[in-house]
């Protein structure tokens, strides 16, 4: 039990932060209320430090920031063993990007309310204030995200995914005072529930097929007894359901509406947090099945035929997912990136462009999932590519949304300043607001994947891993889509840089929150700095992507533990070891 807790220090830190923020945000004094954002940031810093310092790790891994190697000498007995190093990397990444995402969140809620209180028109009323909820949900969602990374059980994974998503529904709804946000929140909630239903259904199938909810045991079962069709269907449904979180076709419909309805900083949050949760889950599920099947074995014929069904066996030297899953993900990847990019071209609203671009990027990353861990080197490992791309995408995408958050137009009818809407609003931004303009240019070009920016180094391993996994047609589609994406990213980059504001256009101005501007510049700086010092990070991603093959140690009887031992009610049961070092 205590073994298990050592994995969860970051989550515990975030949770404590959440509790503090919830109380602090309702304080009567303005200073205390304002401190809630600070506490949120502090909680993230502590969580990030905890992730680096306290996560027990297998083998050596040097922290990219401190260069210090902590080792508690713990056996890898607790936690999931399929991607044993991934939680460390993922939690560090979540803490860093979380901090970047926090910067533009200043003043998202309660702006009018606080103004009224400051002018003395109204007294502070806890019932009208949203600040506590907002930051608490922010942290709750990130806690869920970190829990996803440490999940070693289907039930845990489900709860973590929901903990990630439920707060975001509310964050969307309260992010502005417009009805559009509420509509977006409701839409997001209902469709999210539908998605959750699908993957929970899938999880049930998996439990039915293997008799266990523990990922390690499921992997063990699949390795020993083969992948039966029930488990296969379960995996299929689970992955399709989780693809709601990453906004992949056919679960992508909500994306543009929700992103458009939410405040830009919350849209930026949505583009990173649920996506990361989704990809971590998909990687975990895929690692449970294993990338060790020969190409010919589709398993479908057997599934459709009546009579006794022969389960799919892993074979030595094979390096792909079961054909059925591979084709599902293949079609999803191809459709996702194409639909995302093609629809983005038609948009004029910046947030909708970025929403479709977020869909397209999910498609890119699915290529890495299909490619699998390869031989474990950075260029050949699709898993490492996905993990590294999550970092790249998190940094550069936060920048574009932060730019939008840091700008506003004159107040509309409801008295609230209106947001930047169309690309035309960005005209001449580099001249009028150079810091934000250039941040937008850098982040857009990085999203496009222009060398030598971060996006290029992120996208490159997706290509190389796809090629080494022999997925040439998919890589060609990826390349074509990258070219199509240039169409709208260049528009986002060149409109601020080269065009002049229209003569009659209304002036845009800085939103009165300095930290939003800082957020944009930090992202843009990160895009450049991380591109230069990327090799340490790629090493970390490569470490994190190490997939443990579930080979059975000789004479390990505990491995044959009955399914009941890992009943959902007892997730803390020390899982049977898949292999010993």
């Amino acid at each position: 039990m205590t073994d298990r807790l050592t994995f969860l220090y970051p989550e515990i830190a975030l949770f404590i932060g959440t509790c503090v923020v919830m109380v602090l945000g309702l304080s009567r004094t303005l200073q205390a209320r304002k401190a809630s954002a600070l506490v949120t940031g502090l909680a993230l810093v502590v969580a990030g430090y905890m992730a680096i310092a306290s996560t027990p790790r297998v083998g050596e891994a040097i922290c990219p920031l401190t260069g210090i190697c902590f080792s508690k000498g713990l056996t890898p007995g607790a936690g999931q063993l399929l991607l044993p190093q991934m939680p460390l990397y993922a939690k560090t990444l979540i803490a860093i990007v979380g901090l970047i995402l926090l910067l533009p969140c200043a003043g998202t809620v309660d702006r009018a309310e606080e103004a009224a209180i400051a002018s003395g028109a109204r007294r502070f009323d806890p019932l009208r204030s949203n600040r506590a909820e907002f930051y608490a949900f922010f942290l709750f969602s990130l806690t869920g995200l970190m829990l996803c990374a440490s999940a070693d059980d289907l039930v845990w994974l489900f709860l973590a995914l929901e903990l990630t998503s439920l707060p975001t529904y509310i964050m969307v709804a309260i992010s502005t005072s417009r009805n559009k946000s509420r509509e977006a929140g409701v839409k997001y909630f209902f469709l999210g529930a539908l998605g959750a239903a699908i993957f929970l259904y899938g999880f049930a199938f998996i439990y039915g097929g293997t008799g266990s909810t523990n990922l390690n045991q499921i992997a063990r079962h699949i390795q020993d007894d083969g992948l039966n069709s029930l488990t296969l269907v379960g995996m299929l449904l689970a992955m399709l359901g989780v693809s709601f979180k990453i906004a992949a076709v056919p679960m992508h419909f909500y994306t543009p509406d929700v992103y458009e309805g939410a405040a830009p900083q919350v849209s930026g949050f949505l583009a990173f947090v649920p996506k990361t949760a989704g990809f971590i889950s998909i990687l975990l599920l895929a690692a449970t099945v294993g990338w060790a099947y020969a190409p010919g074995q589709s398993g479908v014929g057997a599934m459709l035929s009546a009579g006794p069904v022969e389960p799919l066996r892993q074979s030595v030297g094979a390096t792909q997912l079961p054909e059925l899953l591979r084709i599902t993900l293949w079609v999803m990847a191809a459709l996702t990136m194409t639909v995302g990019n093609v629809l983005a071209i038609l948009q004029t609203n910046v947030k909708r462009i970025l929403a479709y671009s977020s869909i397209a990027h999910s498609g890119y990353m699915l290529v890495g999932v299909i490619a699998g861990p390869g031989d474990g080197t950075f260029v050949n490992s699709g898993v490492a590519a996905v993990l590294f791309y999550l970092l790249c995408y998190g940094v550069m995408n936060a920048g574009t949304f932060a730019v939008l958050a840091a700008l506003e137009r004159s107040p509309g009818k409801d008295g609230e300043p209106r947001e930047i809407e169309t690309v035309a609003d960005l005209k001449g931004l580099c001249a009028t607001h150079p810091q934000l303009g250039w941040s937008m240019v850098i982040c857009s070009l990085s999203l496009l994947g222009l060398p030598p920016l971060l996006g290029f180094f992120g996208k490159l391993p997706l290509f190389t891993s796809g090629i080494s996994a022999n997925e040439i047609p998919l890589v060609v589609i990826l390349a074509l889509n990258s070219a199509i994406a240039a169409f709208y990213y260049l528009r986002l980059a060149f409109t601020p840089m080269l065009e002049k504001p229209d003569a009659g256009a209304e002036a845009i101005r800085h939103a009165p929150f300095f930290s939003r501007r800082v957020g944009a510049m930090v992202s843009a700086g990160g895009v450049i700095v991380l591109a230069i010092f990327g090799s340490a990070l790629t090493d970390q991603a490569t470490q994190a992507a190490r997939v443990r093959s579930a080979e059975a140690p000789a004479g390990d009887t505990s491995a044959a533990a009955p399914p009941a031992a890992a009943h959902p009610a007892q997730p803390a049961t020390p899982g049977p070891r898949l292999s010993k070092r």
Binding site: G67, N341, I345
Partner: protein, 737 residues
């Protein structure tokens, strides 16, 4: 950033950790300075702060270079002594070198690391040997001095322009350090492009002046052509040896095989094509042969830039490249490409000297002189005397910097005046003694007067040239005479004779005065403001008061003159280039022995008689200059030389117009290209654009087709999700069956 680098350094190999730090600091300090100058610009600093930051960091970098030199010194001295004593094969292995790995920069492997060819490694690391240290010593040393000089010279631009200048200056030193200290060709290439960029930024410093912008573009574009060659050369090296790390490449060459184990000498392309491609890059950067056109125009930049970048350091990068890759050049037993390099250098040396003889703008004269002297260096490399080539780089860096900075002081003091027909007797004005002395001693060096540093280094090249190929030797010897003539022509016209001066055009146009950056020449600022009232009267003496240089300029000039003398024992009085020879002997540029030429100078051993011959030739040149430009001269505009002009006919005019090379390029390259581009434009307009619009239409059309799915209605989306799921599963079942 500092800590990040620090961590990486300590994480690198532990052996010799101390010297790693010093080496890394050499690169880090200019970077810090660059960042700080950038911050100064961001915070709109309106003082000389950026200059002091730059001077301090570069001085510290120089100290670290010295420390690195002390650390690596014993090893290099040992290897160099061995080389000098035996004058025998000191191969890359024997010559001491130190490869320092700072951090992994670009490391790729594919094919699962099973085959050795499936790797590409380029570390961020340093390859330290005699050549590296020699270059770094004068890059950082002269960089410091010239930054100090510039602190006063650019004073009229204090503000944003000042920050911009020093930021680019620091970036230049950073790039140059990367270029020189690189442990592999890719890092060299990045440094190479970096210095090219800084050169572009600094030539175009007065970006509101069309000539400066045009010159910047010209330099950049001409360099691109050479850089293409260099890049192809680097790719070729990778193709041949499977690596771009120097130590590994040299190891292969030493063994005489390529990555596949085939002998190099039988290869159809490695011995000739590879060095030829690298030579293209070297000639572009060092303004040789038909690439030389950019260098004279580059004089549009502020003078400190001309001194540092376009005389002392950047333009010698080409020499450095060939010296560094010398093992590659010597694979070919016939030395085809080295001969080509020698002839390229020789022709440029002569060609540029003739133009220098006719020009009236003293800074341009120095510009042509630089191209000419670079020609000598390449000739030195080409005739297998890399020690001579490097020694000349070393001494040239000092005396040419001196000459440029003296010219800059004149320009600064006389409101941009550089025409030698409009200045005379400057030495006799109060406050100009140090400038005149600096110019005089620089000119002595450039002319190769006996016992100066320039004399020793030029001698090495001349003697080896006669040994290898008397034709090259004779041309270079004649050029030496021409050099002495044009150098002292400039000196005698400007600094000697009757006192007379006209201010340059920078005292005109008061309406432009609000805008400093827009001003054409350097040096306008203060005095034109101070003398606004009387600037109109710019006759003899008149009301224009020349602005004598201040302490910074004088200190730097005096230091450089002392430096010119101090380096004499480093390059002279010994066989094979003394100390510099030892340094080069302990590097990849060490020449394999047993390749003695048999040419003679009129039947005598060139190495023993060249001292006397070149002294005589130099003195003859000076005498001619004295006779034609000083003797009996009563005005600034006219001298005895004018009487010669009719006799020479059109030659003078041609030389004055740079032998119409620019016009020739215009007719042969630009006009056909423009014609071609017009054709392509039409093709593009009607054919390609049509196709592009068509392809652009496909995704758009596709988008329109699926757009209705985004109706915004909740139940529609839910239906879409469920339906999509069903369709996807159906597709999968059908495909996967």
């Amino acid at each position: 950033m500092l800590t990040a680098i620090g961590t990486m350094v300590t994480a690198a190999e532990p052996e010799g950790g101390g010297s790693h730090w010093t080496l890394t600091m050499i690169v880090v300090l200019p970077l810090v300075s660059f960042v700080l100058c950038g911050l100064c610009a961001a915070f709109k600093v309106k003082s000389k702060l950026p200059a002091w930051i730059t001077v301090a960091s570069l001085a510290a970098a120089f100290v670290f270079t010295l420390m690195a030199f002390m650390n690596a010194g014993p090893m290099i001295a040992a290897a160099g002594a061995e080389h000098g004593a035996e004058h025998a094969a000191a191969s890359a292995e024997h010559a001491g070198h130190l490869t320092v790995h700072v951090f992994d920069w670009l490391n790729f492997d594919w094919g699962g690391g099973k085959s050795s060819s499936g790797r590409f490694d380029a570390d961020f690391g340093f390859y330290i040997d005699g050549l590296t240290l020699l270059w770094m010593l004068f890059v950082t040393g002269l960089g410091t001095l010239i930054a100090l000089y510039a602190s006063e010279y650019m004073a009229h631009d204090v503000g944003l322009g000042y920050c911009r200048f020093f930021a680019a200056f620091s970036l230049f030193v950073l790039s140059m350090s990367c270029l020189v200290m690189a442990s592999n060709l890719l890092m060299l290439f990045f440094g190479w492009e970096g210095v090219g960029l800084c050169s572009y930024l600094l030539i175009g410093y007065f970006y509101k002046k069309p000539a400066a912008v045009a010159a910047a573009k010209k330099a950049f574009i001409v360099n691109r052509i050479g850089d293409l060659g260099l890049l192809m050369g680097i790719l070729g090296v990778y193709a041949a040896f499977g690596t771009v790390q120097y130590d590994k490449v040299f190891e292969f060459i030493h063994k005489g095989v390529d990555a596949g184990g085939h002998p190099l000498t039988t290869s159809s392309w490695i011995p000739v094509i590879l060095p030829l491609l690298l030579t293209a890059g070297a000639f572009g950067k060092s303004a040789q042969l038909f690439f030389y056109v950019w260098l004279p125009d580059a004089m549009e930049g502020p003078t400190p830039v001309s001194a540092l970048i376009h005389a002392a350091t950047m333009v010698t990068a080409g020499v450095f490249l060939i010296a560094r890759m010398m093992p590659l050049y010597t694979i070919d037993p016939a030395h085809t490409i080295l001969t080509f390099v020698a002839w390229g250098g020789t022709i440029t040396a002569f060609w540029a000297a003739t133009i220098g003889m006719a020009h009236f703008d003293i800074k341009r004269v120095m510009g042509y002189s630089t191209a000419s002297q670079l020609g000598y260096m390449f000739a030195g490399l080409g005739v297998m005397n890399s020690a001579g080539g490097a020694a000349h780089v070393f001494s040239h860096a000092f005396f040419k910097a001196t000459l440029f900075l003296a010219c800059g002081a004149v320009m600064h003091g006389f409101a941009g005046q550089l025409d030698l027909r409009k200045l005379s007797g400057v030495r006799k004005l109060p406050g100009w003694k140090i400038v005149a002395a600096a110019m005089f001693f620089g000119a002595l060096n450039l002319s190769g007067v006996t016992f100066t540093a320039g004399f020793w280094s030029k001698d090495l090249i001349l003697a080896s040239s006669f040994e290898q190929s008397p034709a090259i030797g004779w041309i270079l010897l004649i050029t030496a005479g021409l050099t002495a003539y044009y150098t002292f022509r400039a000196y005698f016209r400007v600094f000697e004779g009757p006192v007379y001066f006209e201010p340059g055009d920078e005292v005109h146009g008061h309406d432009e005065h609000e805008d400093h950056a827009g001003h054409g020449h350097d040096g306008h600022g203060e005095e034109s403001h101070a003398h606004d009232g009387h600037a109109q009267g710019h006759g003899h003496g008149g009301e224009f008061h020349p602005h004598a240089p201040g302490w910074a300029i004088n200190t730097v000039l005096a230091t450089l003159v002392v430096g010119c003398f101090a380096i004499i024992p480093l390059v002279g009085f010994a066989e094979h280039g003394a100390w510099v020879g030892k340094m080069v002997g302990a590097s990849s540029a060490a020449m394999h022995g047993g390749e003695e030429g048999h040419g003679t100078f009129l039947g005598m051993n060139p190495h023993s008689v060249m001292y006397y011959v070149s002294s005589v030739v130099g003195l003859l040149g000076i005498a001619a200059a004295w006779w034609l430009h000083l003797a009996g001269r009563t005005s600034a505009a006219h001298a005895n030389a004018d009487k010669l002009e009719p006799a020479l006919g059109p030659i003078v005019t041609w030389a004055r117009h740079k032998w119409y090379v620019d016009e020739f390029y215009d007719a042969v390259i630009r006009i056909p290209l423009k014609f071609l581009s017009n054709i392509f434009y039409l093709l593009d307009q009607y054919l390609v654009d049509g196709l592009v619009n068509l392809t652009g239409f496909v995704p758009k059309g596709l988008g329109r087709l699926i757009r209705p799915s985004q109706s915004g209605e909740l139940h529609g989306y839910a239906l879409g999700m469920a339906g999509g799921l069903a369709v996807l599963i159906l597709i999968v079942l059908m495909v996967a069956r």
